[in-house]
Every structure is written in C-alpha cells, then in structure tokens.
Symmetry: C2
Subunit: 138 residues, 2 copies
Amino acid sequence: MRIDDESLKGLLRARGLRVTEPRVAVLAYLASTDRHPTAEDVETAINANGQVLSRASVYNVLHSLTRAGLVAGMSVTDGAARYDAHVAPHHHLLCRTCGRVEDVPWQDFGIAERGVLPDGRSVRTLALTLDGVCNACC
Amino acid sequence: MRIDDESLKGLLRARGLRVTEPRVAVLAYLASTDRHPTAEDVETAINANGQVLSRASVYNVLHSLTRAGLVAGMSVTDGAARYDAHVAPHHHLLCRTCGRVEDVPWQDFGIAERGVLPDGRSVRTLALTLDGVCNACC
DNA sequence: CCGCTCGTCTGGAACTATTCTAAATCTCGT
DNA sequence: ACGAGATTTAGAATAGTTCCAGACGAGCGG
C-alpha cells in the first residue's frame, strides 16, 4: 500500500501546503494503513522508522492535513481521536465489543439526494458513525 | 419540562439502581433540557441549585445512568462528552459552524429494516451523528 | 425502627489527550 | 542564495476524565 513520496508531495502542493518531512511521513503512514490510528499511533509508527517527530508536530501536521482535506479525523466515545487518509466518502462502523473502527462502503442512505433533513436543516456531509458489531466479534 | 422526582425515583428503581440524591438531581436536570450538556454543565447546573456535587460524582452518576440505559452519552470531535436523557431513538446533527448538537427526529434510513450492512456486518443501534449545519447558522 | 453491609459519594491526586509557547529551523518565492 | 513567513520542536500548560481511600447512606433482615 506504499505510495511513493513524490505523489504525496504532489498532493500537499496541490492543496497549497508546504512540503515538509513530517507531513510526508504522516501522510505516507496514514495512506499505508486501513486501521484508524490515533495521534499516538502515528507518532510511534513514524519514530520507529528512525525519524524523530515530536508529539506537538504530530498534532500540527494532523491539523494541517485535516484542514486541507487530505485526512479526516473522527472521535470515538472512549479515548483518543482517530485519523484516516481515505477521504473518499465512506462511513465508519464502531464495534461495541472490541472498539475497533471499520470502514463501511459508502452508501447514500437516502439523505444526500435531498441534502436536507425533512425539517429543512441541511446536512453537509454524510460521514456517519454506525454503532454495531464487527465481523471479528459478531 | 420538570418531571416530578417520584417518577424519576421509580425509573431508577426499575433499573435496579439505588435512589440517591445525586442521581435524582442529575436525571432531573438532563430530563429538563434539550441541550446536550457536558459533565461540567451538569455539575454547574446542579450546584447552582444549592446542592454540592463533586466532579467525580457527576461522572459516577453519568456512568451508572448510562449503564442503566437512562441516559446516553455521545462524543463530538472537539471537547467534552455530552449527555442526553432522551433515550428514545433519535439522531444528532452536529453543527459544523457553531458546534451545537441538535436532535434529529428518528428515521430509519433504510438500515434498520435489515439490521445488517450489505456486506453482512450487523448494526445494533441507529444513533447516527450527522455532520451538517443547524438552522441558526445555516 | 435498628443495625449492618455494600454500593455510592467525596475531594484530591493522577492520568491521558491535546494545545500552547517561544525559540530554532526550514521551505520556497524572488 | 536570501529573506519572510510558515513549520517544527521540547517542554510546560490545560482540559477532560478516572482513580483512590475513606466517609457516608440506601435498603435489607431482624
């Protein structure tokens, strides 16, 4: 799943972000996994590669990537925020049993075609967090 | 929206929880508002009534009420968990602009009638968090 | 109604996730 | 290559939550 650094740098530039080593490293790591790592996971994984990345930088980078739309952050009820480089629309299934976060293929549950709720409020995105039980646990 | 304490005590007893002053106070407060207060909001509101409730107790009580199914906790991306005594099924609209959490009338978006996702994973609850913009901000 | 037991409450310390700060460093347009 | 301004860094600070050990009190049996 390793994406070459040049493509990643291109992504960063395309969004008007300066290309820095921490940003490339974080983006490469997030793009390489389908788990939904926490900030701490990101820091650990990158520092395991010999690089040194401070905790504060992990957050800085995650924030700038999020603002640029290159990664998406999500919060689960217990503990730390989780990040995800798959920004194509999809949903998340939060497993009640093991706490794992699994991706759910995107489907329009009948909301987006309207873009508004029946009472008129607008829904801008369709990133839903479903509460359920994953295959491993069922 | 004030519900008399006797009904609340009955609710607690029905769930096998001991009836204590903090529990009644927290439950009464949550039942009286359609905002989605944080633990701190709960503490502030109750202590404003002359009672004294420690921070730890607020969490104790919220946890026991949640375990008993009398209130539901939810986490939003930024900041503190929020609680809600309206446990009838409904969704939440998280406003991107002002951060407010609004209730959305329950609707089966075509998921529950199956109870499973197309790929077979089961979905246990339908408490969805929608990402959008509330009426006040639109 | 009384006393006992165990669940609950309390204040404070501890812990975890995140943000802030101020200085050093680096990117990139010129 | 230079300089302006963005980014990184380590460490301190903050916010939200949990843990702890002791005091308290709800509700059972008598």
